[in-house]
């Protein structure tokens, strides 16, 4: 009976393959902003959309932006801990802006020993923290999925907590 009960507990956990966490700290080292204003204006006039879709175009683009179609590219250095003394790797975020200062960002994190994590997800640039989806990895992180929670940290850094499955 005890054996069967233990087997049941093991079965109940079936599917949870290797849950692990990883914490790094990032500091942005560069930003390139791609201002697509001309492409947006051209797109309002010259596009293959039907009339229904054209009626749904955003009304005007007042303010500083970012505006739909713009891109922000961030280069980051990664560190092992909050002292920012030991390098853990590097990262790049490519953020494609849509509406209301939201962007769909694609990120890759190049870590030690040649392993890479990739993540995607929406980021609200009105807020200081965000959570994006880990969609894969290579080498040590082959086949992982999960989440990356990013929050402000001291010294102009950001704390990235990866929750990884697989």
């Amino acid at each position: 009976m005890l054996g069967l009960a233990c087997a049941s507990a093991a079965v109940a956990r079936a599917g949870e393959t290797g849950h692990r966490t990883l914490t790094v700290y990032s500091v942005a080292t560069g930003l390139q902003y791609i201002n697509s204003a001309d492409d947006s204006v051209r797109g309002k006039v010259n596009n293959p959309l039907n009339s229904t879709e054209n009626r749904l175009a955003p009304k005007g683009s007042s303010g500083k932006g970012p505006f739909a179609g713009d891109i922000a590219l961030y280069a980051l250095t990664l560190y092992d801990d909050a002292t920012l003394k030991r390098r853990a790797g590097s990262a790049v975020y490519t953020c494609y802006f849509n509406y209301n200062r939201h962007a769909l960002c694609q990120a890759y994190y190049k870590l030690k020993a040649g392993s890479t994590l990739v993540a995607s997800g929406p980021i609200d640039f009105n807020k200081s923290g965000f959570t994006i989806v880990v969609t894969g990895g290579t080498t040590k992180y082959l086949g992982v999925r999960g989440e990356a929670k990013v929050a402000p940290a001291p010294r102009n850094a950001q704390k990235i907590e990866f929750e990884l499955i697989g």
Binding site: L31, Y33, G65, G143, R145
Partner: protein, 184 residues
């Protein structure tokens, strides 16, 4: 028969049923892709480069993120010839299952957006006979598409739930890439 005795008799069967159900409940799609290895020979068919020099220049002046505080990385837009931040490179391929390129099995498209130091983030879409697969990750792109390692992040049809990694390396034969996909 007492209630307790009835439970005692049914319990092992219920536990066995639960174990079997949990095993069988592993999605069929995952069973099809788990632990698989695929090899394709990719022949390039089209390529295009989208040069966003004007958008880059405009972005230096009209930027909502205060460029004075966080400028572009040093030498981001100078140095040797190559894709610059924000540029796009598109590569289309036919996929074959043999190195002789006689058995066509699908197509692939790589859409790469450059960031810094001639590196790009590439999204690869594979359209295969029984479904699609998606991969995304960094690639170092010099003057040619020389080879990448990208995480496989998903798929549809027979490849629904696919995850793993793909390695693409140039072949000296017929200007092809050899794509090895390892699914976990």
């Amino acid at each position: 028969m007492s209630v307790a005795a009835g439970i005692r008799r049914r319990l092992p069967a219920a536990l066995a049923a639960a174990a079997t159900a949990a095993t069988l409940a592993a999605p069929l799609a995952q069973a099809r892709t788990q632990g698989r290895s695929l090899v394709f020979y990719a022949k390039p068919t089209r390529a295009q480069f989208i040069n966003r020099a004007d958008d880059r220049a405009r972005g230096l002046k009209l930027n909502p993120f205060n460029a004075d505080v966080l400028p572009p990385p040093p030498k981001a837009n100078s140095g040797k010839k190559g894709g610059r931040a924000g540029d796009n490179a598109l590569f289309a391929f036919k996929l074959y299952s043999d190195s002789g390129l006689t058995r066509l099995v699908g197509t692939a498209i790589y859409s790469c957006t450059f960031n810094f130091a001639h590196e790009a983030i590439c999204e690869a879409d594979f359209e295969l006979t029984h479904g699609t697969m998606i991969a995304m990750g960094p690639a170092q792109l010099g003057s040619t598409f020389s080879g990448v390692v990208l995480p496989v992040t998903g798929g549809t049809g027979r490849y629904e739930g696919a995850h793993g990694q793909l390695t693409s390396t140039p072949s000296i034969f017929k200007n092809t890439q050899i794509i090895h996909i390892q699914l976990v």
